[in-house]
Each structure stands twice: as structure tokens, then as C-alpha cells.
């Protein structure tokens, strides 16, 4: 196989990777071709390692890569495909080595791809894209692990607001003449350093109230996972769970591993499945915590479907109080994913006048759209 064929094969391989959702650019293909000139092309394992490095395959994409690699670079003797890398370096290449022609890379290792893989037969799909659109109540525990990563990326995009206020900054930003002159006094009129100032970054204060009753059950886990990721980005986050009573979850939350934290929470929160009494719970929040936690910079997020068994008058007054104090009140309702839904449930009706935003939260995409609203 000539060098040209190798390039063509690599291009096809890269395209397959892209269709799998593994981002591979033209520059990466160039790197891959260059890398292959440095390795023993008859050693399939070595070719694989070189491609892993040159195409920059992330750990989460490895499974997809390996599958495609197995197809594109089939060994001459299929029964002897090396299955695992071992720490010992002395495993010989399993494929018949081919003499190298001067100045070019040849390979005898791969079967001609043109014959085996007709173009365009592999349907394009991106596992990541599918996961984003999958409704939470259809997700399994395994999906949660995959979502965790997406959630982290999502939460880290939470824009930290740059306020218009200028604050002293040690190194960057515009010159602060007033402070510079003040400093000069101490050094006898010499400008040794310039004081600087830059726009302050403010992180929004977040208060999250999550309905954990039965009707919200399947969503709650994922919403809590999202909130845990948010906590990493917006450091001052308070998290509460409510159904028949209000529980403050903040002290129990460790921002690192979502899985064990959720288990700990599920063990600790009473009535994980039960009916909701939003009015009573939110009133309790207003009475006990609002003064300390909600100020003009706070954003209050309420996750609930509004199906309520409690006193709606209480709910209305609690919402009025929150709305007055907080910068923004956002209500996330999974039922909104259905276009025909209208907020006719008593709870929703009572709360509606006091909401700044009413949005769905049934899959990752909807949460993504939420981010600019929280940050702004």
C-alpha cells in the first residue's frame, strides 16, 4: 500500500470518527500522517498508539475509536489481534512486516479499505447529542455518569458577571492613576510600579429549591446533579429540598463526586416520594432563611411541577416575598416540555404572577438554555 493510500485511509478513518461524534479536524489528520512516518507500520498496536496521540483521542472517546480502529486496521491474521497493551515492551508485532521503500511509508498491515467500507453507509450519530436530548425520566444510572461530564461543562460555562465597578487589581487592567500617585509618595516621586484596576467579577448568588416529591422523582436526581455542578461554578449556592417539609441540603453537598452525594442525600431527605406542600415549605424558607440568603443579587431557582396539595394562598404570599427580594425568580417545570401544557394547576397559577422566568427542565438541552438566564 502506497503512502497515498495511507493518507486516503486516514481521511476515511477520520471521517468515521467525526460521524461518531469524535471531533477530528484536518490539522489532526495531518498530524496523524506525520506521526505514522515515525512508527513501525507493521505493528498494529504501535499504529494505534500513534493515532491516539496524534488524533488527540480523549478517554471518553476511546471505546468508539477502538471499535473503528479494529475495522479499519484489521490484522492479517485476525486470530492474533493483540487485545491489550501490557507493560512489557517485548511483544513483537503480530502482523507480517513489510519492507519499507525509501522515502515513503508503506504498509502491508491493513486490508484495502476501499473494498470493505463503502462510503456513507455508516449512519451519523453523536452519542453526546442524543444524551443531551434524552428526557431525564428515561435516563438510567449509567446515563447519569455520562451526563455528569456534560453537566460539568455546562455549569462551568456559567458566566461570571463582570460588573461595571472597577476594583484594584494586582496585575491586569487599566492604570489607576489615583492609586499610582498615592504610591509614588512613598518612593520619593519615582514611579516604581503602576497600580491597576479592572472590572470586578461577581458570581451570582444562587438559591435552589427542589421539589423532591413523587411526581418530580425521576427528574429530581438529575436536577440535583445539575445543581451540584452549578455549585462548582457559582460558589455561593444554597440548595434546599422540599416536599412535605423543607430540608437544607447545602452542608451535605460535596461538589466532587455526584453519585455518592446523591445517595447520601436520598438517605437523608425524608419523603423522597410523597405529595408536595409547596406553600408551607416556601413559607418556611421565607421565614427562616430568606433574610440571610436572598439579596438583590440572588437568583432563586425553583424546580417543581406545581402539582400541589398544600395551601395555595401561602404559596402565593411566599412567592410574592421572594420576588420582591431577589433579583430574579426562575421556575423550572418539567411539564413544560409538552407544548400543549398550560399552567392550570393551582400551584402554578398561584405562583405565576411572581415569576420572572418559567422554563422547562426536562433534558440537558433545556438546562443549557437556562444558563444565560441565570447569569444575566
Amino acid at each position: 500500500m502506497s503512502g497515498e493510500d495511507l493518507v486516503v485511509q486516514l481521511a476515511r478513518f477520520a471521517r468515521e470518527l467525526r460521524e461518531r461524534g469524535i471531533a477530528t479536524g484536518l490539522a489532526d489528520e495531518v498530524d496523524a500522517v506525520a506521526a505514522l512516518t515515525f512508527v513501525d507500520l507493521s505493528d498494529r498496536a504501535e499504529v494505534r498508539r500513534a493515532l491516539l496521540a496524534a488524533l488527540k483521542i480523549r478517554p471518553r472517546d476511546r471505546a468508539g475509536f477502538d471499535e473503528l480502529f479494529a475495522r479499519f486496521w484489521a490484522a492479517e491474521n485476525p486470530g492474533e489481534i493483540p487485545a491489550r497493551e501490557s507493560a512489557t515492551p517485548d511483544r513483537p508485532g503480530r502482523v507480517r512486516p513489510v519492507a519499507r521503500s525509501a522515502g515513503g511509508a508503506t504498509t502491508g498491515a491493513s486490508t484495502a479499505p476501499g473494498a470493505d467500507v463503502p462510503e456513507g453507509t455508516i449512519p451519523g450519530y453523536s452519542a453526546e447529542a442524543l444524551l443531551r436530548r434524552k428526557p431525564f425520566d428515561e435516563c438510567t444510572a449509567a446515563d447519569l455518569a455520562a451526563m455528569e461530564r456534560l453537566l460539568e461543562r455546562l455549569a462551568s460555562k456559567l458566566a461570571t458577571r463582570r460588573s461595571r465597578r472597577l476594583v484594584p487589581s494586582p496585575a491586569r487592567g487599566a492604570a489607576d492613576l489615583r492609586r499610582s500617585f498615592r504610591r509614588v509618595v512613598g518612593t520619593g516621586g519615582e514611579f516604581l510600579t503602576l497600580a491597576r484596576r479592572t472590572r470586578a467579577t461577581e458570581q451570582p448568588r444562587l438559591v435552589v429549591l427542589c421539589d423532591t416529591s413523587g411526581s418530580m422523582d425521576s427528574h429530581s436526581r438529575f436536577l440535583l446533579a445539575f445543581v451540584l455542578s452549578l455549585k462548582r461554578a457559582a460558589r455561593r449556592t444554597e440548595i434546599f429540598a422540599f416536599n412535605t417539609s423543607l430540608v437544607r441540603l447545602t452542608p451535605w453537598i460535596s461538589p466532587r463526586k455526584i453519585g455518592p452525594t446523591l445517595e447520601r442525600l436520598a438517605a437523608g431527605v425524608p419523603d423522597w416520594s410523597g405529595g408536595t406542600r409547596s406553600g408551607e415549605c416556601l413559607s418556611e424558607f421565607v421565614a427562616r432563611y430568606q433574610d440571610a440568603m436572598v439579596d438583590s443579587k440572588s437568583v432563586v431557582l425553583i424546580f417543581s411541577d406545581g402539582l400541589d396539595r398544600g395551601d395555595t394562598a401561602l404559596l402565593a404570599s411566599a412567592m410574592r416575598s421572594l420576588h420582591a427580594k431577589a433579583r430574579k425568580v426562575i421556575w423550572l417545570n418539567p411539564l413544560l416540555s409538552d407544548a400543549r401544557y398550560e399552567p392550570t394547576a393551582r400551584g402554578m397559577q398561584a405562583a405565576l404572577p411572581f415569576l420572572d422566568v418559567l422554563a422547562p427542565a426536562h433534558n440537558l438541552e433545556s438546562l443549557e438554555r437556562l444558563l444565560p438566564l441565570v447569569a444575566a
Binding site: A23, G25, A27, D28, D31, A34, A35, F38, V39, D40, D43, A45, E46, R49, A50, L52, A53, A54, L55, K56, I57, R58, P59, E85, S86, A87, P89, R91, P92, G93, R153, S156, P170, A171, R172, E190, F191, L192, T193, S254, R256, K257, G259, P260
Partner: protein, 299 residues
């Protein structure tokens, strides 16, 4: 396997770094292709060590740039030594030189504080190894600047002109994955992901890094750590912790594990409060037993 790659692997081992074929291949390619190498992995798996061992193998200087949030160009690239310039100006007042001459003097290379990136570019004796450590801790702005430097390996200082690298440095970037790195930077580098080691590899690392450890102790430590990593921990111990623990046990003159010693020295491997409190004495004892029992069963 290409003999050159095997040679690289053996050289790394000689200098104390046990590398599998994957690591050796990536480092070899980065060196030959003169592309930066981005190394990702959890804390303590040996990312930074790669740069150190490469510098030892190539017998060249290791220049380290430690990234942190708020790192900016002047701390990474260069800064004028204002104080020295001011003093020189003061002295020049009495000398009666022409202003142009004075300017020439105070904007000379002597008055330039070279920070790591500039040092790496302007090294005369040969290409150094530039380690940009924990690049995920720096922000987007710095990443863009770094990308520029890594693309051209030249720097323009307004007063001095453009400084081009005589010898293009070998660049290794490490990331803990705490932040998603920009695509442009990823594309610029070759990629290597280092996982926690297998039992066999970990035992070899212990024996290489802690010469006083007997084979038996190394195996027990290895098994214990492997079992520990399988549990859900907030902070999984890395190879660095394994080595520390082995050294600690040697200091305590232990040649095998026992529950009391392990409990006392648990702080060498578990660094998170929740992890430590979550480990009961019973669990610890069973882990120790497992780490030792398998050896008894083997013929």
C-alpha cells in the same frame, strides 16, 4: 515496535520513570515531530514527572511555568526591571550623557527580567524542555496567548524587537481536567492520557522509586492501593501517594502491612476528610487482609 521507541522507553526507565508503550510512543512522537504534548490525567499519576525525565534524558534544562488563575503575560513572559532602570537613570543624571544613549542603556537585555516562556525561547545552549504545568488553572485569555507563543516561538518586545527561538523547545503541558481546555490549544498539541497504573506497573514503580522496599511489601502496597481505588472516593490516591506511603512504611521499618500501621499512616494515601472518616477499622482490616492473602494463595 520501533527500536527508537523502545529505546525511549528504556531510557525513561533508566531515569526512574516506568512508562508503558503508550506513554513512550507519545513522548517519542512529540520529541520527533517537535510538537507540544498535552498530558491529561488525574492528580498524582505522573504527568509532571514526564517533563522532568525528558529533560534528564535529553540532558537539557527544565524550564517550568506553573499556571494559576490570574497568571498574566508579564509573569509568564517578561517584565522590565523598573527599579533597576530608575536607579540607572538617577546615576545617569550626573554622567551627562545624551538622552538617546541613556535610553539604549536602560532598555538593554540586562534590565529585562526573563520569565519562563522567554527563557525557554531565548536559550542559547540548546533546546530546553518547557513544562507548562496545570494549564487548566489559567484562564482563556492566557491560553490564547500561550497558543500564540507555541505557534511561532517568537516574542516581540517593543523596545528590543522580535526575539526568535534559536532552538525550538520541547513543550509539555499538563492538565488536571478541572477546566475544559480550548479546542485550538488541543489541536496544537499531541495528546496523552495517563490512567492510574495497573498492579504490575505500580509494583514496578514502587520498586524503582523506593529501593528499600522488598518485593513482598511492594506487592502488598500495590494490591492495597488497587483495591482502594476501586472504591468510591472523593479523592483517589495517585502514584505520588503510593510512593510517599511506601517511603513512610520503610521509615517505620515495616516489611509488610498490618491494620494498625495502615490506620496510622492512612494520611499518606487518603487526603480528603470524608474519605478518611468513611473508612472504618473493619473495612481497613479486610482490605489489608486481601492485600496480603493473595500472596499466600499463590504457589
Amino acid at each position: 515496535m520501533r527500536p527508537e521507541i523502545r529505546a525511549m522507553q528504556e531510557a525513561m526507565e533508566q531515569h526512574g520513570y516506568i512508562a508503558g508503550p503508550e506513554i513512550a510512543t507519545a513522548v517519542f512522537l512529540a520529541k520527533e515531530m517537535r510538537k507540544p504534548l498535552l498530558v491529561e490525567g488525574e492528580a498524582g499519576v505522573g504527568k509532571t514527572e514526564i517533563a522532568k525525565v525528558l529533560a534528564r534524558i535529553l540532558d537539557t534544562e527544565l524550564i517550568r511555568l506553573q499556571c494559576y488563575e490570574g497568571l498574566d503575560v508579564s509573569t509568564a513572559l517578561y517584565e522590565w526591571n523598573y527599579q533597576r532602570q530608575m536607579l540607572r537613570l538617577r546615576m545617569a543624571e550626573d554622567e551627562g550623557r545624551a538622552p538617546d544613549e541613556i535610553e539604549q542603556i536602560i532598555f538593554g537585555r540586562d534590565y529585562l527580567l526573563e520569565r519562563p516562556l522567554l527563557k525557554a525561547i531565548s536559550r542559547r545552549e540548546g533546546p530546553p524542555v518547557l513544562l507548562v504545568d496545570e494549564v487548566d488553572r489559567a484562564d482563556d485569555g492566557f491560553e490564547a496567548f500561550l497558543l500564540e507563543v507555541l505557534s511561532d516561538f517568537q516574542v516581540t518586545i517593543p523596545e528590543l524587537g522580535t526575539i526568535r527561538a534559536e532552538h525550538v523547545p520541547y513543550v509539555i503541558l499538563t492538565s488536571n481536567g478541572s477546566r475544559e481546555l480550548g479546542d485550538a490549544l488541543r489541536r496544537r498539541c499531541l495528546y496523552l492520557y495517563i490512567e492510574h497504573p495497573s498492579l504490575e506497573k505500580e509494583v514496578r514503580i514502587i520498586r524503582a522509586q523506593v529501593p528499600g522496599a522488598s518485593r513482598r511489601l511492594a506487592e502488598e502496597i500495590g494490591r492495597f492501593l488497587q483495591a482502594l481505588r476501586a472504591r468510591p472516593l472523593a479523592k483517589s490516591p495517585g502514584v505520588a501517594e503510593t510512593i510517599d506511603w511506601a517511603k513512610a512504611l520503610i521509615r517505620l521499618h515495616r516489611d509488610h502491612l498490618d491494620p494498625e500501621t495502615v490506620e496510622e499512616t492512612l494520611g499518606c494515601v487518603l487526603k480528603d476528610r470524608h474519605d478518611v472518616s468513611g473508612m472504618t477499622s473493619a473495612e481497613l482490616s479486610s482490605l489489608v487482609r486481601e492485600a496480603r492473602e493473595i500472596e499466600v494463595a499463590a504457589p
